[in-house]
């Protein structure tokens, strides 16, 4: 079990002894091996590591999109491994948001409709859904462009719509997989700032997979993975919270 840095506000995600392997043809490759981790509530946690080391797979398992072969996953105190497809959908509907590398917006819908769409399934009244959608778009700086369709938006703007779509549900957990890799430097920075702000202002637990070095300076905690294991777990002098106690300014590192 991992020795963890101290947590002031509890654990949002907890994985214990996770194994995951894929069979392609006759070859069985182990992607995650006996991985255990706790993700703190309200923090921006970054997972980085070389390509193919299992980062996205870990994200899929922690978010309830994929079951592990072995081990247990608790999200917000609920044991995801015991849930069937429908229960997992309900859990995701009420508690999680996703931002993917691709923007995955419906070409036919305007920005505000993209954001509104999932809210209806949440059971919100149409007027409330509209209000929340507009509010989230304002928050990502797209208030003036909310009537535009994806074909009329830039890549950075599309990713911000995707973030607003995840955000409007007011989820406790936000998962992002390489949210900046399809964007140029300036747009990447904007998206990073937004993710940072979400964690700070909404108390959302943000778990982000990225290679982007700029994200490192914004994260509360950086996990480095290699070959299906966590190599290092580095708590940074928090950019989100004032430092407390006798911690030396800078970083604090624990070996897993």
């Amino acid at each position: 079990m991992n020795a963890r840095p101290s947590s002031p506000s509890g654990i949002a995600l907890q994985a214990r002894g996770i194994h995951k392997s894929f069979v392609s043809g006759r070859v069985r490759s182990s992607v995650l091996r006996d991985l255990s981790i706790d993700i703190e509530t309200g923090e921006l946690t970054l997972i980085s590591g070389p390509s193919g080391c299992g980062k996205s797979t870990l994200l899929a398992i922690l978010s309830g999109l994929q079951p592990p072969d072995e081990g247990s996953v608790h999200a917000l105190g609920e044991d995801l491994c015991t849930y069937d497809t429908r229960k997992l959908e309900r859990f995701r509907l009420h508690h999680t948001g996703f931002v993917f590398q691709g923007f995955n917006l419906f070409p036919a819908l305007s920005a505000v409709e993209q954001v509104e769409l999932p809210l209806h399934y949440l059971g919100l009244a149409p007027s409330e859904a509209k209000r929340r959608a507009a509010q989230s778009l304002e928050e990502v700086g797209l208030g003036p462009r909310m009537r535009l369709r994806p074909s009329e938006l830039s890549g950075g703007e599309k990713q911000r719509v995707a973030i607003a779509r995840a955000l409007a549900k007011e989820p406790e957990l936000l998962f992002a997989d390489e949210p900046t890799s399809a964007l140029d430097a300036a747009n990447g920075q904007i998206v990073i700032d937004i993710l940072h702000r979400i964690a700070r202002n909404h108390g959302t637990t943000v778990l982000c997979v990225s290679h982007d070095p700029r994200l490192v300076s914004h994260a509360d905690r950086v996990l480095t993975m290699e070959d299906g294991r966590i190599l290092s777990d580095r708590r940074q002098q928090s950019p989100l919270r004032p430092t407390t106690g006798t911690d030396t300014p800078g970083t604090e590192e624990t070996a897993p």
Binding site: E89, R92, L93, F106, A108, Y121, K169, D177
Partner: protein
């Protein structure tokens, strides 16, 4: 509610166009086929539907009007004796051979010998009183406008039927026959044309009117009982017309042909429509997967696909009805026998909607590819 299905259909109409066209053409083909079949086989009973008689009396077991055999003239007395019968009229059917003035060879014709009085029941709906009156003249005949070329005559032309000289005194419309050409003459003329010696003192059919047409069925059953005038049977006009049409439909194999073609059209339409819908789903599969990741259930996504299928079906239906109406108007303008009953129309439309729904169900299956885990790689 964001109308995802409809907005996508409108925004990406090019993508859905093949499905809409497939549904539309399938609907059009079914409608035209039904109209043609009903029109063509409807003409096998034009003698009945073009007349105002309630009862038909003929040889027992007669399957179709054109297969009538002569019955004893005494039957007329039996009919007149029944208090419910208000009017009785003979109808002579003569299968014969036409030789026109031009070299058209022999043409098989059906001579209908009718009562030419203005209040006659036979062909009261198909011939104007003025046209009937012209038949009083001996050896006068009326032919259908659409058959003039076949017969090689015009109005006033002279020809021979079974070697008997006749003169064309007028043309009718809507009296085309199946498997031959209809010729209308007076009863006297028809009897002179009839060369079969066994037919003297015999008539092919008697038609009758009853006081209360809603009782026709019971009266027919009552009249059927008597055996004193040789063998005969009594049918209501409606059941005899239906019987004639069914005979032709089955005898010519057209019924099976219609079903076969309907099946083919359904199959081809469903393949094109489902493939188009599948392509539309696959084209948006990452978006659907994202919605599923955000917690929108697979059931809700299926409803979106089914709604798209429904709209494709509805638009295709409206298109096929509009085009079908145009085609039918044009067809009836050119004397092509077409007829559509409300039931047949509804059946065609239901079939086409079923096609769209089946295609939607097929497209729904491809939602399985919308696995949100594939978005994380």
């Amino acid at each position: 509610m964001v109308a995802l299905a409809r907005k996508t259909l409108i925004y990406e109409w090019r993508r859905f166009l093949p499905a809409i066209l497939a549904v539309g053409f399938a609907g059009l083909l079914q409608l035209l086929q039904a109209a043609l079949v009903l029109g063509i086989f409807g003409s096998s009973s034009v003698y009945i539907t073009g007349s105002s008689a309630d009862l038909w009396v003929g040889y027992p077991g007669t399957q179709s009007v054109n297969l009538g055999r002569a019955i004893d003239n005494g039957v007329e007395m039996r009919l007149r004796m029944d208090p419910a019968v208000t009017k009785v009229e003979p109808f002579q059917w003569v299968d014969s051979d036409w030789r026109g003035p031009q070299d058209t060879g022999g043409v098989s014709v059906f001579v209908s010998g009718i009562d030419t009085r203005p209040d006659g029941m036979m062909f009261s709906k198909a011939l104007s009183p003025e046209l009937r009156a012209r038949l009083v003249e001996p050896d006068a005949v009326i032919v259908d406008r659409a058959d003039l070329d076949n017969l090689g005559v015009g109005i006033g032309g002279v020809a021979a039927i079974n070697g008997h000289r006749v003169r064309v005194v007028g043309v009718s419309s809507g009296l085309r026959a199946l498997g031959g050409v209809n010729i209308v003459a007076s009863l006297d003329t028809a009897r002179r044309i009839d060369t079969a010696p066994a037919d003297s003192n015999r008539t092919t059919y008697f038609v009758a009117r009853v006081a209360d047409p809603s009782q026709a069925h019971d009266i027919a059953r009552r009249l059927r009982g008597a055996a004193s005038f040789g063998r005969y049977d009594v049918w209501t006009a409606k059941s005899f017309a239906h019987r004639s049409q069914m005979y032709w439909m089955l005898d010519t194999g057209a019924g099976a042909g219609v079903l076969f073609l309907a099946g083919i059209v359904f199959l081809v339409g469903a393949v094109i429509t489902s493939q188009t819908l599948v392509a539309a789903v696959v084209g948006s599969v990452r978006e659907y997967a994202t919605l599923n990741a955000l917690g929108v259930g697979v059931g809700a996504l299926r409803r979106v696909v089914m709604e798209q299928a429904f709209w494709v079906g509805a638009i295709g239906l409206v298109g096929s009805m509009a085009l079908g109406a145009v085609f039918l108007l044009v067809a009836s303008h050119y004397s092509v026998p077409v007829a559509l009953s409300p039931v047949a129309t509804l059946a065609c439309l239901a079939l086409v909607m079923a096609l769209a729904i089946v295609s939607g169900l097929a497209a729904m299956r491809s939602l399985r590819r919308a696995d949100p885990a594939t978005l994380l790689r």
